[in-house]
Assembly symmetry: C2
Homo-oligomer: 343 residues x 2
């Protein structure tokens, strides 16, 4: 059975209505509220077809129909198809303050997005490839303490405090700094590993005693550069949805938000455009009755993180896709203008 124009129209009407009301929709409602030009009986027949085809579901025999995940998928696809061709122009935001912490900016945007959408938003902070290290600096802070500083090409800085078991002369730092910058900054992960395993110890010469600690720190920093941080905002918005009056569901949702590793997976960027995962399309059992709209934000075209909206499968996809697109464009613009040129 083909999904002809009339069926599409009716399906569209059912989904739109359900998104607004959260109530199952009957044929009569459709006939009255949407001028399809058909009687309720005809619509009834079509709805039975749509159910058979898997686009709609019936909570119980004498209830109206609600959209299935497949139904939402149809809806989202048709929105996205429409959308991809007329990218709205965005206001160009120039930086206001020069010095802002990266995380703070992203959090702020996630917060704004939560506020305007009235949904829970999650943001994944920069994931940086370890071959993007631009500079390393060792800074003595005490006779037996130093800070190991890593700067990446997007200006993100990570630092580690090293406790040394032996005092290190100040002049040695110069030597170490040069060595590390030469051998690590800008190098590929493979090269770095090779250097650490083979050459480092010999090259250190008289200061070989800090080799272990140095290697550990460098490995840790490489590992951490690949790690990400998750931030959630507007968490309480989920409770605005009547479907979450069920406390068990609500509890699952909040558990999910506390489960950072899982959120991290969920927000892993997979396509280069707005990515919508509806209900069971999500990889995780925990998310089977939630939808996620996610998209990446960038610095000068390079993906640095993800922002997502999480809500019930009944969500206003049209509006949310629009809003998340606007916000991430803005965010990418702002970040690009701050971390604008090569470091």
């Amino acid at each position: 059975m083909p999904l002809d124009d009339r069926k599409k129209k009716i399906l569209y009407a059912v989904i739109t209505d359900y998104i607004m009301t959260a109530e199952p929709i009957g044929s009569r409602t459709i006939a009255k509220k949407y001028n399809i030009g058909l009687s309720s009986a005809t619509i009834r027949n079509e709805m039975a077809d749509l159910e058979e085809m898997g686009y709609l579901e019936q909570p119980h025999t004498s209830a109206g129909r609600i959209p299935s995940d497949k139904g939402y998928r149809f809806y989202v696809d048709s929105i996205l198809r429409n959308y991809i061709n007329n990218d709205p122009p965005i206001s160009h935001n120039t930086r206001e303050e020069i010095i802002v912490e990266f995380d703070e900016i992203v959090k702020k945007y996630a917060r704004i997005l939560a506020n305007i959408t009235h949904h829970t938003t999650v943001a994944k902070m920069p994931k940086l490839n370890p071959d993007r290290i631009r500079k390393i600096q060792l800074i003595p802070v005490a006779s037996n303490k130093m800070i190991f500083l890593v700067v990446t090409d997007t200006g993100i800085v990570k630092n580690y405090l090293l406790n040394l078991c032996q005092n290190v002369d100040r002049t040695i730092f110069e030597f170490l700094n040069n060595l590390l910058n030469e051998k690590i900054a800008g190098k590929s992960e493979k090269d770095i590993f090779e250097f650490l395993q083979k050459d480092l110890r010999q090259m250190l010469g008289e200061v070989a005693f800090i080799a272990d600690e140095l290697i550990n720190t460098i490995l840790l920093s490489l590992k951490q550069l690949q790690e990400t941080d998750i931030y959630a905002d507007g968490t309480s918005h989920i409770l605005d949805f009547p479907e979450y009056k069920d406390l068990g569901k609500a509890k699952n949702f909040f558990n999910l938000l506390d489960n950072k590793p899982l959120l991290n997976e969920v927000l892993e960027p997979e396509v280069d455009f707005i990515d919508v995962r509806i209900g069971s399309e999500n990889k995780f059992e925990e998310m089977k009755d939630l939808s996620v709209i996610k998209t990446t934000y960038k610095i000068n075209g390079r993906v640095v993180g993800t922002i997502g909206i999480i809500g019930p499968t009944r969500m206003d996809y049209r509006r949310l896709i629009n809003e998340i697109n606007m916000m991430t464009k803005e965010l990418s613009n702002l970040l690009s203008s701050i971390y604008n040129d090569e470091i």
Copy 2:
């Protein structure tokens, strides 16, 4: 009317029971479950007295009694009084990994505390006095970019990226580093402000063009060192409490958790011991039916942050006070062992 021994016993029984069951308690229940050695009628009379005295409340005329905030206060005070005299010894935890990010450690402890208590926990990350700056370092990362690094005496490092409008020669950094360390590191806030306003510009001489940016950055860093970060975990636990089946209440709670500035105020340390705020004892309207148990964690005796447990006024104060005390002691130990000696 005095709170005699018999009244105390009954009050204690009512509160203990209510903490377990979340149901109003009647006189008969008390008579049966707790061997006070009195009939329900007598207990009934005593309970009427306790209500008159403000320790108990009645949700409606023919219901049992529940503890008022004043009742909980009595309960908590008697626990604390008991507690303050026999501080249990704690296992001494030595550091396992040398390099860990401060925030990660605190978050981990907050998470563990949430898990063992089954309550929502919040942690306030270090608040540092600006007169505690130990070292400042300017690091060139490109001809027109540099990193401004601040190290405090607890080893916390903050960094800021400066975009300069003009290129700066590498030799100048040495000069700036010395100047800033001499004039800012270890100085009081007042001294720093004076230096920034009066002397800095002249001292800069030929590099005066970076004065504005430098001053702004320093001011910002001073401001940020006083700011704090809030982390919440175990948020979904609140839904385990039957009193939070009321969605409005639940929503308020989650709004509260999203409201970082307010949480910040709530976690402001006020006393040097475990601090319990019951219902209306909290400053904020938003928290009038929540209780907070909070206490500080320290590095070598200096307060660096706060951890708190948030839950309904009916909470198991005895157990929670014990557990938060254990955890913060552990945390303080660990932090002190990592950031052990003077930097």
